[in-house]
């Protein structure tokens, strides 16, 4: 099996929110990278996940997003997402993650939602 890769960069261009740029594959093996990114976003009241670079995700990856949501909820943080392709948007709807993650088309829309 080929090694699947994932990179996450955390930016804080706006006060109170952190943007996590996801690039690569999210699987059950991505926990350390995802939680490291989450820790870098410490202090932000909203975490915005940029999925424009998402290349692959399996059910283990969806499970990790659920545990990320739980951690964020404990810290009274909200999670937003943008840049999902139609395919991944449908997966978020199927798994009902969209009940808890605000999904937007662009970064500007997501940032506007955080500030509204």
């Amino acid at each position: 099996m080929a090694q699947r890769t994932l990179e996450m960069q955390v930016r804080k261009p706006h006060e109170g929110s952190a943007i996590v740029d996801v690039k690569g594959d999210i699987t059950g093996a991505s926990e350390d990278i995802l939680m490291d990114a989450y820790n870098q976003a410490e202090g932000a009241r909203a975490i915005i996940l940029n999925f424009e670079g998402l290349d692959y995700m399996n059910s283990g990856g969806i499970g990790l997003l659920v545990t990320l949501l739980v951690r964020a909820k404990r810290q009274h943080q909200k999670i937003f997402a943008f840049g999902l392709t139609e395919h991944y948007r449908q997966i978020f709807e199927l798994t009902r993650l969209d009940d808890a993650i605000g999904i937007y088309a662009t970064e500007a829309d997501a940032v506007a939602a955080v500030n509204s």
Binding site: S59, L69, V70, K73, L94, T95, L97, D99
Partner: protein
């Protein structure tokens, strides 16, 4: 599979063995007598229109659905509490959130992870404890398929519920539960090598669906579930010629209960299965006296 192994989908030609492929000019097309009739784009059937370029995992996921629908299931199955239900992720559940991992090292087995998963999918119902039935579709475990479960409850009651095959690839598959099931969430079955030995794993991410199930899990339900999956993994190991010991690891991911989801009890499949069982004598009488 790495992305470099994927065929190109951008229409560009790729070098093969370092040589540029020969480029030939397409023949000139002249429309006239005998030429096929040009069909307006609006009249082209939908399936002929090229679809959006698929993601690498597109074939592994169930297609989007609003509610479950059971097809091609055995006549033996009590098919209740599945049709028309929505699936529930742990976000929609009520109780504490748990991640339970059951794992067995398949010592003495030289099967690849793909072979372990193929065997598991093919024989999935056979590995379950007695009196618990999994009625999968005739087409087997594939993304989007819905299976009916008839599970043993105390007092000879049978709980009828189901699962959706949310995801399936060569090395894993995931079942997601509907409204009314004991828990909201999913179970991922996977296989992978560790220290040169194949390992089979079942991992549950769940919350009890409603307050009644939450009480039930506290009063022995969790233990029963642990025994259930340990039995399943031991059966798989035995089928593959191994006698590995099943390890269980339980983590409470969220101690808080989601009281806003207490109303899930309306869909409770145990209560509904109980009412269905109570109606059995009446149904039998109607069958006997109906013309």
């Amino acid at each position: 599979m790495s992305s470099s192994q994927e065929p190109r989908t951008d229409g560009q030609q790729t070098k093969v063995d370092g040589k540029r492929p020969e480029v030939t000019q397409p023949p000139e097309i002249v429309l006239g007598e005998g030429a096929p009739e040009v069909i307006p784009e609006s009249e082209i059937p939908e399936e002929v229109v090229p679809p959006e370029i698929s993601a690498r995992d597109a074939a592994n996921w169930a297609k989007q659905i609003s509610t479950l629908s059971v097809h091609d299931v055995s006549a033996e199955a009590v098919n209740k509490n599945v049709d028309g239900k929505r699936v529930n992720s742990p976000i929609q559940g009520f109780g504490k959130m748990w991640q339970k991992t059951y794992r067995v090292r398949l010592v003495g087995c030289d099967a690849s992870p793909e072979e372990v998963i193929a065997t598991w999918k093919e024989n999935f119902p056979k590995f379950w404890p007695a009196n618990n039935r999994f009625f999968g579709p005739l087409t087997g475990i594939a993304p989007g398929e819905v299976a009916v479960l008839n599970l043993a409850l105390p007092g000879r009651l049978k709980l009828s519920t189901g699962v959706l095959v949310l995801y399936a690839d060569e090395e894993s598959f995931t079942l997601m539960t509907p409204q009314g099931h004991m828990f909201a969430g999913w179970i991922t079955f996977s296989a992978f090598p560790k220290d040169g030995v194949p390992v089979a794993q079942a991992q549950v991410l769940m919350r009890a669906n409603d307050p009644m199930y939450e009480v039930g899990l506290g009063l022995g339900g969790h233990k029963k579930e642990d025994v259930f999956w340990a039995h399943t993994l031991a059966s798989l190991a035995s089928h593959l010629g191994s006698e590995g010991e099943v390890e269980t690891n339980v983590v409470c991911v969220d101690k808080k209960r989601q009281w806003s989801k207490a109303g899930n009890i309306w869909h409770n499949a145990a209560i509904r299965s109980g009412f269905y069982a109570m109606g059995a004598p009446g149904r039998a009488a109607r069958r006997r006296f109906s013309p």
